[in-house]
């Protein structure tokens, strides 16, 4: 079974839109949002029922002209494992979500 990055990215986009869709950056709620985005995405990924272990990371940053760079390097079996990164933004913040899926079957 191969990881389908397309499906995963659609799921994630929906999750993020539903949680922080039209909202402006709010420092007191940011904790709650990150947790919610990550938990919802993970839940939906698991519902797909594929034999994978998942790692979901979300970085939310306020828009203030600062730059952000993200890189990842993975040591795995590239025929079965995969990753997907979704960059989302609205008027006041950036959100970068990475999903890594590691297969648990030969």
């Amino acid at each position: 079974v191969v990881f389908s990055a397309d499906e995963a990215s659609n799921i994630i986009k929906e999750c993020v839109d539903s949680i922080i869709g039209g909202i402006d950056y709010n420092h007191s709620k940011i904790n709650q949002w990150t947790a919610a985005v990550v938990e919802q995405s993970l839940m939906h990924l698991v519902k797909m029922g594929k034999p994978f272990k998942y790692i979901v990371t979300c970085a939310i940053m306020q828009k203030s002209g600062a730059g952000l760079h993200t890189a990842s390097s993975c040591y795995w079996d590239s025929s079965t494992d995969g990753s997907c990164t979704v960059r989302w933004e609205n008027r006041t913040m950036y959100c970068v979500i990475s999903v890594f899926a590691v297969s648990i079957m030969l």
């Binding site: 990215s9 039209g22 272990k53 990371t57 890189a71 990164t85 590691v102």
Partner: protein, 202 residues
């Protein structure tokens, strides 16, 4: 901007047929994809980096934009699909050697401090730096020779600008064998966060 890599192993002939069909369709999106498929050269690692570029073909819902990017390891794919290998049962319930969280933490501290101690934030430099640092960390963890563990290294480097950033992650795994390690570093003009996830392959 879509960056499409190949999943699994695509046969060379299949790839040619695919490009042929794509050319027939003759739309901007398809041409773009085809060009990228052909242009794809071996870059050594699965890297994704945030680019500030104008995004085309985006669905705008309530003033929000999203892009998807995922890159695979084009250099490491075989041309002929490898037959699925049947492995013998190891009858092993637990790993013989567990992932050493403390050692890895020291590695992260070491690498981040040595690469970023004196650096000032610059877009080009930091873009290269994130990729280099993630490769270096992965190599050093591989040197520890911990069998049957898959490693994922995730690095964020950003400018310090009176803004706040929150990075969170959740994992669905076996918590008795799998673990993670994290370290954050900052100097006067930039901050760096390194996360390492180790997943046991049963």
């Amino acid at each position: 901007m879509h960056c499409r890599g190949s999943f699994g192993r695509i046969n060379r002939s299949f790839r040619l047929i695919l490009t042929f069909f794509v050319n027939i369709i003759m739309s901007d999106i398809a041409k773009d994809k085809a060009a990228r498929l052909l242009k794809k050269t071996g870059s050594f690692s699965s890297l994704s980096s945030y680019d500030v570029k104008v995004k085309e073909n985006m669905r705008k819902q309530k003033d929000s934009m999203s892009t998807v990017s995922y890159m695979d390891d084009p250099g490491h794919h075989d041309d002929l699909p490898r037959p699925a290998q049947q492995m013998e049962n190891t009858y092993q319930l637990n790993p013989t050697k567990y992932f050493p969280g403390a050692t890895v933490n020291n590695i992260l501290k070491d690498v981040l401090a040595s690469y970023l101690q004196e650096e000032k934030y610059e877009p080009e430099l930091c873009r290269q730096m994130t990729k280099t640092i993630s490769e270096v960390i992965k190599a050093r963890i591989k040197d520890l020779m911990i069998p049957r563990y898959k490693i994922i290294v995730l690095i964020h480097i950003g400018q310090l600008n009176e803004q706040s950033i929150r990075i969170g992650s959740r994992c669905l795994w076996n918590s008795s064998t799998d673990t993670f390690s994290s370290f954050s570093f900052c100097n006067r003009s930039l901050f760096a966060v390194a996360n390492v996830f180790a997943v046991y392959f049963e």
